[in-house]
């Protein structure tokens, strides 16, 4: 440990592992430490199942749960947008070679007490019970507009400047009713609340395009999920970092981040060992005095021995409960994965219900989500604080990631990484730079 590094990365969560990989690839000497014995921090997938039960102080699972090590349970639920930033990053870094994916079978949205499939094509849209007949025609016109929309071709804007006009006015232009707005804004554009209605329409148009581009990639839904769970993602980037010379230490407690002149970081202390460095990258748990609480997120892991009712026995789904449908300010998300992803024993499903906490009784906030699941065999609830750094780190050279939010995809995760990388290196996160000769088979 007593060496000098360009950067020390603390924590092996997904964001830290991506950063570590990027730094190693760009030729930096990196030391990557985790206080835990395992990789992944909060983005780990817990295995075997006994470990998960122990983590939540529950009595050990009985034999109906099958073999414990057939389970890999995520602590934080997320899906990948097929055309999103994380997928781009995986492809460009070659980390995709460590992973296999399955397409999520369907995306559902909650309306008036029941769930409906988010239509993925015109045929499904016409058959959908989300809209009445006339509304369907208006919605179709809206989708065609978005499809034809080109940011650099004002002719496609149809006399509305999307950079100044807000989204509400675009909805109004097409005469879409509140329910359609709800499902468009929350299930297609994936907004957490309704603030977007007052913001320039261009943002929402981009998101809907991302959704449909993602859909076009692999069919059934715009979402992907990795075999063996999300914990494979940080590990893939950790391997990238190691392959490029990064040094890994697990099970190493960090006692102090050592500062020098001007409050600038000079090293990291563990016991009486000090590793010197020019920069530190870390998650909030390593620097409690340099972050502030932004909000709280509640997540409930539910183990089920049956598929979710009304999803045509889908082996994976996502369900969004738009805030307004249940009188909230933030949406409730449900992600469902199962044995088909090698994350549960045969016949088992894992549903994760999550949202941003709004009251003193977070458990009852997620009830509308739990009610959709049918009988729940085992439930693990956690409420975690959501932290953000108090500064951008350029002064101290300590760059801190934000905690994982309640969203169920990785877009915000990647944006945070890109931001930190920019502050830390002064360079834009250049995807093409990591186009490397990692493997031979693609030459």
């Amino acid at each position: 440990m007593d060496e000098e590094y360009d950067a020390i990365v603390l924590g092996t969560g997904l964001k830290e592992c991506i950063l570590s990989g990027m730094l190693s690839v760009s030729g930096k000497k990196v030391l990557h430490i985790d206080r835990n014995k395992y990789y992944g921090g909060e983005s780990a997938s817990i295995t075997p199942l006994e470990e998960l039960f122990a983590k939540f102080n529950a009595p050990a699972p009985d034999e109906t749960y099958g073999r414990g090590r057939d389970w890999n349970v995520d602590l934080i639920p997320k899906l990948l947008m097929a055309n999103g930033l994380l997928v781009k990053l995986l492809i460009h870094t070659g980390v995709t070679r460590y992973l296999e994916f399955k397409s999520v079978e369907g995306s559902y949205v909650y309306k008036g007490g029941k769930i409906s499939k988010v239509p993925v094509d015109q045929k499904e849209a016409l058959a959908s019970d989300l809209m009445g007949m006339f509304e369907k025609r208006r919605f179709r016109n809206f989708l065609i507009y978005v499809q034809d929309f080109q940011e650099d071709d004002a002719k496609t804007w149809k006399d509305l400047d999307p950079n100044t006009a807000n989204m509400q006015s675009l909805y109004d232009k097409f005469g879409l009713d509140k329910n359609t707005q709800d499902f468009t804004g929350h299930a297609l554009a994936l907004y957490l609340n309704d603030n977007y209605l007052q913001q320039p329409a261009i943002q929402t148009i981009r998101r809907i395009k991302l959704y449909s581009d993602s859909l076009a990639r692999y069919g059934k839904s715009p979402y992907l999920y990795p075999m063996y769970g999300l914990g494979e993602l940080p590990q893939g980037f950790a391997r990238l970092s190691a392959i490029y010379g990064g040094t890994y230490m697990l099970d190493k407690p960090i006692d102090e981040i050592v500062l020098g002149e001007g409050g600038k970081v000079v090293g990291v202390r563990s016991g009486n060992e000090i590793a010197k460095c020019k920069q530190v990258y870390c998650d909030p748990s390593y620097v409690p005095d340099r972050v502030r609480k932004k909000a709280q997120v509640i997540r409930c892991i539910c183990l089920l021995d049956h598929p979710i009712p009304n999803t045509k026995d889908a082996l994976s789904t996502q369900i969004i409960i738009p805030q307004k449908q249940v009188g909230r300010h933030s949406d409730i998300y449900i992600s469902v994965v199962s044995y088909t992803h090698q994350v549960a024993a045969k016949g088992w499903f894992i549903a994760m219900v999550s949202t941003t906490v709004e009251t003193n009784d977070p458990e009852s906030e997620i009830k509308p989500g739990l009610d959709l699941l049918g009988p729940i065999r085992q439930k693990f609830v956690s409420v975690s604080d959501y932290y953000e750094p108090i500064d951008d780190g350029t002064q101290s050279q300590i760059f801190i990631s934000e905690s994982y939010d309640a969203t169920t995809h990785f877009e915000t995760t990647c944006l945070d990484v890109i931001k930190i990388y920019k502050y830390g290196t002064g360079e834009d996160f250049d995807f093409s730079k990591v186009k490397v000769e990692l493997g031979e088979e693609e030459q």
């Binding site: 070659g94 399955k102 692999y218 075999m227 590990q235 950790a238 490029y244 000769e437 990692l438 030459q443």
Partner: protein, 207 residues
């Protein structure tokens, strides 16, 4: 026949730091040896594929090196996933690298359940007349682990002894034991790797 995809079999190297895994990897790639293992010589190299022509079939062995993660930390569990075979490497001149094998074996059976396991005593050039690890030791070990070990090999990366023979034999055994599975491989696989949708956008790689 030309349309049939050559099956690719993932083979991983496991064992203590310093036993010669990267050296075996380097022998596999270009049949060279670097005496004072300069870590940088395999820097950025992740895995390597090589075809093996067997009597009635061609397969590709895809060999993976640990990336040196085992030096202080553990190797990520995802390293083991989808492996068809694991080569458990120890150094014949280092008894302790042999005694910790059971731990590595445990990792393999945990994370790469279906992998066939092979044992490789490396640095046979250093074995000398009073070996640190005897054939009897190896035999006992294989018995202790309920015959999980398919075959034992001795190799030297320094002079190249036994390396190619080992890989050819592993390729043959994998084909034998997996015959039906290999044939099914493309049919049964509904998970997929993600890749770039429009290769036209990519700058053509002239390296």
């Amino acid at each position: 026949m030309a349309m049939v995809k050559t099956p690719v079999l993932k083979v991983i190297l496991c064992g203590e730091y310093g036993v010669g895994k990267s050296s075996i990897f380097r022998r596999f790639i270009n049949n060279t040896f670097v005496p004072n293992s300069d870590r940088r010589s395999t820097l950025g190299l992740d895995h390597f594929e090589k075809p093996y022509q067997l009597t009635d079939k061609t397969v590709k062995l895809q060999l993976w090196d640990t990336g040196g993660m085992e030096r202080i930390a553990s190797v990520t569990s995802s390293y083991y996933k989808f492996a068809e075979a694991a080569i458990l490497v120890f150094s014949l001149d280092n008894a302790s690298s042999f005694h910790v094998l059971s731990q590595h074996l445990l990792d393999i059976v945990t994370y790469a359940e279906n992998a066939k396991i092979f044992l490789c005593g490396n640095k046979s050039d250093l074995e000398g007349s009073s070996p640190q690890v005897t054939d009897a030791d190896i035999e006992t070990f294989c018995e202790q682990c309920h015959n999980l070990i398919s075959t034992t090999y001795k190799t030297s990366c320094k002079n190249g002894t036994g390396i190619e023979e080992m890989f050819t034999d592993i390729a043959m055994q994998l084909v034998e034991s997996n015959r039906s599975r290999i044939e099914l491989q493309t049919l049964d696989h509904n998970s997929f790797k993600i890749s770039n949708p429009d290769p036209v956008d990519e700058p053509s790689c002239s390296c």
